[in-house]
């Protein structure tokens, strides 16, 4: 196993997909440990070393004896691990911008989950209105913010660009015609997809294209 960090998560895109892109971009050797069934995760989380950690959850990073939990913390940990702290924001202005985008993006992800967990018998009737109420206006905010910016915090790539890309991919796949109107997001999406590490990874057989969400539990994925 050597020097590889282990990224543990379900075998879906979910919270781990931006982290997979991130690991590829960082050039850190890693094992993409995927849990296909709840029993597999239960077995791991109830035995050592995970059972000694009160915060144990998915996703996690295991790095030798080190275990890190909470998806946002993994970006911080990996930036230092790969000796690329600039991905956390190089100065106060970038750090504040990163935190601002992160806050709005989290509302967007929450809105998407609220949309896709509308009860099955109500989804078809409510999905249009709820898309507009829960998702689209937040996506518009982000799109406007990104206009005239190369990356989320400005000229420099940071870890929040990886999370933004995943949100864009969900929108682009779910409602392509609405996504096409969000110029700021669309441009960011294309620039990010063209980063060599990202381009190579998306073309590789390691890439999980779908599902975004756990199959069967959500109205779309």
């Amino acid at each position: 196993m050597g020097d590889k960090v282990v990224l543990g998560y379900w075998a879906i895109r979910g919270l781990a997909q931006p982290l997979r892109f991130y690991l590829e971009y960082l050039g850190l050797p890693y094992e993409d440990k995927r849990y296909y069934k709840p029993e597999e995760w239960f077995a791991d989380v109830t035995s050592a070393p995970l059972n000694q950690h009160v915060l144990a959850n998915l996703p996690y990073i295991q790095d030798g004896d080190e275990l890190v939990f909470e998806s946002q913390a993994l970006y911080v940990y990996l930036a230092y691990r790969a000796n690329k702290p600039e991905l956390l924001g190089q100065n106060p202005k970038e750090q504040v911008a990163l935190a601002s985008v992160r806050g709005v993006l989290q509302d967007l992800f929450k809105g998407l989950i609220a949309l896709f967990t509308i009860p099955e018998d109500q989804f078809e009737a409510k999905k249009e209105e709820q898309f507009n109420q829960l998702v689209f206006w937040i996506a518009e905010k982000l799109s406007k913010f990104l206009e005239n910016r190369k990356w989320a915090v400005g000229d420099n790539l940071t870890y929040i660009d990886f999370q933004l890309f995943e949100a864009e991919e969900i929108l682009r796949n779910y409602k392509p015609e609405a996504f096409a109107t969000l110029v700021g997001l669309k441009n960011h999406n294309e620039s990010f997809a063209n980063l060599p590490a990202i381009k190579n990874y998306q073309a590789s057989d390691k890439m999980i294209a779908r599902p975004f969400y756990p199959p069967g539990m959500y109205r779309w994925g």
Binding site: V54, L55, V68, F69, E70, S71, Q72, A73, Y75, V76, Y77, Y80, P85, L88, P92, Q95, V96, A97, A99, S100, R102, G103, V104, Q106, K110, E140, K141, L142, K144, F145
Partner: protein, 218 residues
Amino acid sequence: MENKVILGYWSIRGLAQPLRFFLEYIELPYEDKRYTNPEEWFGKDDQTFNSPFTNLPYLKDGDHTVFESDAIYYYLAHKVNKPELLGKDAKQQTMVATIRGSVGDFRASFFQWVYGGKETAEAKKEAMLKETGEFFKIYNTTLESSTWLTGDTITYVDFLVWEYVDEFLVLAPEVITSKPKLVEFHNRISEFPQIKKYLESPNYIKRPYNWDIQAVFY
């Protein structure tokens, strides 16, 4: 006109209370601007900002305004030249993000109940207390091996958790009082001279935590 920063938020504790404590802790003079009616904000003050992120809370510093509560901590810590409040090294910065993520999960669980409807609130309360109790257990255990939630020095996430410890001491005290490290943590922050002074001042508004119209607990 003084050079005070302005913290704008609703006239509840909500997301701004940890920010108010943080401002008191760093001893930065500020105006605690509270919006009581939606009409004071929507269609009025919110039109004076030209950011796509315009929202409450905001922090106005002269011509510059920061939106998103988490970003405001970053702005303030750098403004007073105390970046250690964001985590002093890789290890602590990672832990700050870990605890912050956990608080996000706690909020999702707690606020689903708080704003989940008054009719079913009593019936759902026990399940909510069990779920949120797990988080408080985590924070209590964490404090058994470090002085503060992220290590041996205080960071802004300590204020995030303090607010919910404080709220639960009113809502369901046994959830907190059964966890000695949390009680001690709550007292420790309360006893900081600048915090103690704030708690005794007329600027400190103890209630409501949440909007009384919709919330089952405020």
